[in-house]
Amino acid sequence: MSVQTAVATDVVRMSGVTKVYHRDTLRIPVLDGIDMTIREGEFLALQGPSGSGKTTLLNLIAGIDRPSSGSIVVSGTDIAKLSESALARWRARHVGFIFQFYHLIPVLTARQNVELPLTLTSLSRSQRKEHVATVLKIVGLEDRMDHLPRQLSGGQEQRVAIARAIVSDPTILLADEPTGDLDAKSAEEILVLLERLNKEFGKTIVMVTHDPRAAVRAHAIRHLDKGVLD
């Protein structure tokens, strides 16, 4: 395994990244020569039409997909070169992922959902409990800890998902259409929360969004079209 060290303030450095999918004999290029740098504390919005490769790009940064070529250095580690097992450990330590449809585990309470990533750490039960209480307070759901996802509104579910994403204090927060399934009021609350995480807690955030109102909250907006970044 080869590990490269990036510039200290660069959380993500992508160079010459391509991604090609193969379906039967069909070759589908999705990303074409992506070069991008994301600095620590940056709030970046990725926009582009459907099929432009936004989610694929986000997945590559998160280490849940692998590039066809090129290198992706996140927090000093070339993640394209990690084994599956090492990549899983790396994700647990460095990535907080927020999904459009929240993807909470329906049979676990809000507290247990948030605690899930911490079960992979060496924290004691009391430390985990403390961390969970802290992040649920940050997202304003300290009074909903023992509710199951089905007992929460969409906005509340997404806030639990955000709490789950930040509970292990990851290097980078990746949000894939975090407001895509929410009404305007809930969407606004989520965007305010993300802004707060960025400003108050210095979290580096990359957000894929179709929503122009969401994109303007970011420090920078990058457009992706047919796999090419502007």
């Binding site: 999918y21 999705v30 459907s50 099929g51 432009s52 490769g53 936004k54 989610t55 694929t56 997945n59 998160a62 849940i64 997909d65 599956e84 097992s85 899983a88 450990r89 994700r91 647990a92 330590r93 990535v95 992922f97 999904f99 459009q100 993807h103 585990i105 329906p106 049979v107 676990l108 247990q112 605690e115 899930l116 990533p117 079960t119 992979l120 789950r164 894939d176």
Partner: protein
């Protein structure tokens, strides 16, 4: 890991209807498997009850050929043989030819070779003192509601005629697998019948007592060598081998039962495989989320395999509990009506352990495909979002 285990248990009951149906299906499979295994165990019960300290010498040609009583004296001289007794199969019936049970004419020492037969001393004395006396096993006595002192008539088929007996004793076994369904009476009485027809003193088999089972192969060879060139050559074997030759007569029946048991296991496996495939397919996105959070293949394997184990265990426990009731209910009727074939028909702890073990093994095998699929499936595909 704690949460994975908690999640495993909760996933197991996440779809109550499906879980109930699956558990019921497995329970029915376990009942069928336990019942078939109990039938098999009943067939083999004689083997389990055999003692290595007893050897059986019969006619080399077949059990239907009788042996001359004169051979007994020579057998007593074989080093290692401590006791020689003998018996002969009577083959009669009580009232109705379908009311079958075993009647064996034996010499007075025969019972000494069966310490597992427990007979009160006064009853034994009464039996030995009277030629018309007989003793019967407890289950046989219960079957016909016989009491000590009852007079019974057995109609002989091999030795024709109505034979009257007085029950002087009821024995019971001191082991759970001891046969309590037979009747014993005095060989001397049968011998007199044979002598009256100028057939000479004969026995169906000799029962030899030995002190040192490690010498059995030498003793059996020595006994057979004694009569190798006689008109009544013997085949001497351990009691277990002797009983096994009876079991082998039911070879095709036993094979069928074993195949049926295997089919039941396959059915359990298919039930579980279907359930686990459905469950894993429904939760594929969750597995993708867990992987995104940093959970690895073995976590998913624990989650899916654990769910399969919980469901199969519930089914196995329910099935075994029901099996106890069912075997107990049918067991009595089977022992009453088919006592000679199945003297002991009960669910043994080893059968329960085997049933649970096979069900759990089937559950684990059933979840291998869903585990492999879930572990191998790329996260991005599991999340169903590819732009």
């Amino acid at each position: 890991m704690l949460h994975i285990l908690a999640l495993t248990v909760r996933n197991s009951v996440r779809n109550p209807l499906r879980t109930t149906l699956t558990v019921t299906g497995i329970a029915i499979g376990v009942i069928a498997f336990s019942f078939l295994q109990t039938v098999l165990a009943a067939y083999y019960f004689g083997l389990d009850a055999s003692s290595p300290k007893r050897l059986v010498a019969r006619h080399r040609v077949s059990l239907f050929n009788l042996l001359p009583l004169a051979q007994a004296a020579k057998m007593r001289e074989v080093p290692g043989v401590t006791q020689v007794s003998y018996g002969i199969w009577f083959g009669g019936y009580y009232r109705d030819p379908t009311q079958f049970f075993g009647q064996i004419a034996v010499d007075p020492q025969y019972l000494d070779l069966y310490p597992e037969f427990v007979l009160p001393p006064d009853q034994k004395q009464a039996y030995l003192a009277e030629q018309q006396a007989c003793i019967v096993g407890r289950k046989l006595a219960n079957r016909f509601d016989w009491k000590v002192g009852d007079k019974i008539t057995i109609t002989g088929q091999i030795f024709p005629g109505d034979w009257d007996f007085i029950i002087r004793g009821i024995y019971h076994g001191n082991q759970p697998n001891t046969d309590e369904t037979s009747m014993f009476f005095h060989w001397k009485r049968l011998d007199e019948w044979l002598l009256a027809r100028e057939q000479g003193s004969q026995v169906g088999w000799y029962l030899l007592g030995v002190d040192d089972p490690s010498q059995n192969s030498r003793i059996t060879a020595a006994v057979d060598d004694l009569f190798f060139n006689s008109t009544a050559p013997t085949l001497t074997e351990t009691e277990k081998e002797f009983n096994a030759s009876f079991v082998s007569m039911f070879g095709s029946v036993l094979t069928t039962i074993k195949i049926a048991s295997g089919i039941v296991i396959v059915i359990i496996l298919l039930i579980m495989a279907n359930t686990m495939m459905m469950a894993a397919r429904e939760r594929i996105t969750e597995y993708g989320v867990l992987k995104t959070l940093g959970f690895r293949g073995f976590h998913l394997a624990t989650l899916i395999g654990g769910e399969a184990l919980v469901v199969t265990f519930l089914g196995a426990v329910l099935g075994c509990a029901a099996s106890y009731g069912i075997v107990a209910m049918f067991g009595k009727a089977i022992e009453m009506n088919l006592g000679q074939m199945f003297p002991v028909f009960e669910l043994k702890p080893s059968t329960v352990a085997l049933s649970v073990g096979m069900a759990l093994a089937a559950g684990l095998v059933a979840c291998l495909a869903p585990i492999a699929r879930s572990v191998r499936l790329p996260i991005a595909q599991a999340l169903r979002r590819v732009e």
